[in-house]
Amino acid sequence: SQTIHQWPATLVQPVGSPLSLECTVEGTSNPNLYWYRQAAGRGLQLLFYSVGIGQISSEVPQNLSASRPQDRQFILSSKKLLLSDSGFYLCAWKSSKGAKQYFGPGTRLTVT
């Protein structure tokens, strides 16, 4: 069966520090991968998606970047965090032939 992992689960970082959040998927190959952010009291916003290794599409201009160095690994990064980067970050995967997205447990990021 397929599983999706995210780490860390919780992170507190000072403003201006770098960020790296990791998402990995097991039990499937060539998935579509997605990064969402959920700010406090708001819905989910799609940040990035990837349909293959090295292929990244950005949905909104921001302080973050994404990379997909391996087929089942998706990384969210920032060189310098802003207070507005605080939120709950969710990774999701989808089969390239399906429509259902499956979500990871999320990472709660607090920028102080």
Binding site: Q6, N32, Y34, Y36, R42, G43, L44, Q45, L46, Y49, V51, S57, E59, L90, A92, K94, S96, K97, G98, A99, K100, Q101, Y102, F103, G104, P105, G106, R108
Partner: protein, 115 residues
């Protein structure tokens, strides 16, 4: 562009009462529609989905939703709410063309259940 509206930010119901959470979507063709549930501090769990066919879809935990094309709605229902249903519920729409199938979420409805 696709969009989703969940007009109710917060709903409170008594345990055992019926529930209906509203969702309206905007999409140029027949969409894929989803309801997800999020418990505090957790990721999202898929409750049910509509792709095509029967417009009344059954999901997990006793939930169902009805797709009404004429009203561009996909409301979530449950005949008898349990205290464990307290959570935040998100409606989402995905386009059915292309491989990316990006999901667009509503802002969510927080459900509180009183005993």
């Amino acid at each position: 562009a696709q969009s989703v509206t969940q007009p109710d930010i917060h709903i409170t119901v008594s345990e055992g009462a019926s529930l209906e959470l509203r969702c309206n979507y905007s999409y140029g063709a027949t969409p894929y529609l989803f309801w997800y549930v999020q418990s505090p501090g957790q990721g999202l769990q898929l409750l049910l989905k509509y792709f095509s066919g029967d417009t009344l879809v059954q999901g997990i935990k006793g939930f169902e939703a009805e797709f009404k094309r004429s009203q561009s709605s996909f409301n979530l229902r449950k005949p008898s709410v349990h205290w464990s249903d307290a959570a935040e519920y998100f409606c989402a729409v995905a386009g059915n063309t292309g491989t990316a199938s990006k999901l667009t979420f509503g802002t969510g409805t927080r459900l509180q259940v009183t005993l």
